[in-house]
């Protein structure tokens, strides 16, 4: 490829804090994973020569060769099936499913093979597979390009699920996930690919568990992926009204950091969980239960959920009505604030 579209940030030393987009952060993380682990291989639809439809693997084939970064046929079951075989043979596959909705054809490989091979083989065949899935909505794309599959994946024993909310998290969480011995579903919030942020290369912070992105004392907003940035905006607006909101980026959706939920809501005594996925049997229910379990005695109100609707993900024109917007989140907060024990 002669298209250096993604220069990894403005500085070259690993010690510095650099400003880059999430695209660039993911690209740099993959570049380093390939350099550090000779067993790591990247593949998927358009991942090789084109560098991915979102340019996440841009330039990697040129730098690391077509043996390690390559294109596959349009067959997700094949991409994930091949990952199983490569993992058995000692590789660390980093496959990409081009869009969230394209994961459905590979559910058999993900659920029946990848998730349980380690268990089935009594630990002799671990599945160190990092499955990148550009996820969630927000880019006005057609059907199958805006879905939120975290609850489906989190429900499957044997899988880990993680979603970064900004470039720093993207860089460090991907590098961490790609060195785990377990299968990790890495859900990239595609609507945040282009936003720039500071990445502290040398100081990742803990790669495990949830992370407090803003401290507050009146209410905790729990979110992940693209909804974290929106919740930070809401917290800023709520501060104008005298309400101090804590924003907890859950990051890992399996396993969920129950201790972090307990600590935050134990302090604020009120919680609203926000996700793009439909309401019913969404991960918000799991979060609400974990909070209730830990904080039942001190909670001021039932945990509220502000989510997408129980409908198929809509076309681009209706996206703004579907994804939780600032006003819907503020209404959810108001319901919690107004709650009176009867």
């Amino acid at each position: 490829m002669s298209s250096p579209t993604l220069e990894s940030g403005t500085a070259t030393t690993a010690a510095a804090t650099v400003t880059m987009s999430m695209q660039q952060a993911l690209n740099r993380a993959l570049d380093e994973v390939l350099a550090e682990n000779p067993k790591a291989v990247i593949f998927g639809e358009d991942c090789g020569r084109l560098g991915g439809v979102f340019r996440i693997t841009d330039g990697l084939q040129a730098r690391h060769g077509a043996q390690r970064v390559f294109d596959t046929p349009l067959a997700e079951s094949g991409i994930l099936g091949m990952s199983v075989g490569l993992a058995m043979a000692g590789f660390h596959p980093i496959p990409e499913v081009q869009f969230d909705g394209f994961a459905y054809p590979a559910i058999n490989q993900i659920v029946c093979q990848i998730a349980r091979m380690n268990y089935r083989s009594r630990g002799t065949l671990p599945m160190p597979i990092t499955l990148r899935v550009p996820s969630f909505g927000g880019i006005r794309a057609p059907e199958h390009h805006g879905e939120s599959l975290e609850a489906l994946f989190a429900h499957v024993p044997g899988l880990k699920v993680v979603s970064p909310s900004n470039p720093h998290e993207a860089y460090h969480l991907l590098k961490h996930a790609a060195t785990r011995p377990d299968p990790v579903i890495f859900m990239e919030p595609k609507s945040r690919y282009w936003q720039k942020g500071e990445v502290d290369i040398a100081n990742p912070g803990s790669p495990e568990g949830a992370k407090v992105m803003r401290e507050g004392r009146h209410l905790t907003l729990v979110a992940w992926g693209a909804m974290v940035a929106r919740c930070l905006q809401v917290a800023e607006l709520a501060a104008e009204d005298g309400i101090e909101i804590e924003v907890l980026d859950l990051r890992w959706l399996k396993p969920i950091d129950a201790a972090a939920l307990a600590a935050s809501v134990g302090k604020t005594r009120r919680a609203v969980v926000v996700h793009e996925a439909p309401l019913t049997s969404g991960l918000g229910a799991e979060v609400a239960q974990l909070i209730t379990q830990a904080c039942f005695d001190t909670l001021k109100a039932p945990v509220e959920r502000v989510t997408g609707f129980d409908v198929p993900y809509p076309s681009g024109d209706l996206e703004d009505e579907y994804i939780p917007n600032i006003d819907r989140i503020l209404f959810g907060i108001q319901r919690v604030l107004e709650y009176k024990r009867g």
């Binding site: 490829m1 002669s2 298209s3 250096p4 579209t5 993604l6 987009s21 358009d46 020569r49 991915g52 439809v53 979102f54 340019r55 869009f99 927000g138 880019i139 006005r140 794309a141 057609p142 390009h145 595609k190 609507s191 282009w194 936003q195 009146h218 905006q233 809401v234 800023e236 607006l237 709520a238 009204d241 005298g242 309400i243 681009g316 600032i326 006003d327 503020l330 209404f331 907060i333 108001q334 604030l337 107004e338």
Partner: protein, 109 residues
Amino acid sequence: MAELSFPLPDLGEGLIEATVLEWLVAPGDQVERNQPLVEVETTKSAVELPSPQAGKVVRIHGGPGEKINVGEPLIVFEVPDDTAGIVGTVPKEEAPKRRVRLSAVLDED
């Protein structure tokens, strides 16, 4: 701005190369998607290749009479850094707007 290179596409029928007949665009031109870019001739026929995308032409490869192999660079476009993927559009970063105000009497017990 970033550069995006397009190779000579697979012209089917097992063809591995084509000869440039005439370029219909030049470096500096702003082209639309599907606008004719270049006439090329293979051993079987002559074809006109439409542009795979809109953009400003930075470089063209191969003058009239020169051969290009399938997969080798044909044309390079200049594209904005935040060009979306093949699907979808880049969301606009806007200042947050609200209609809802919060009101609460918080008991600080």
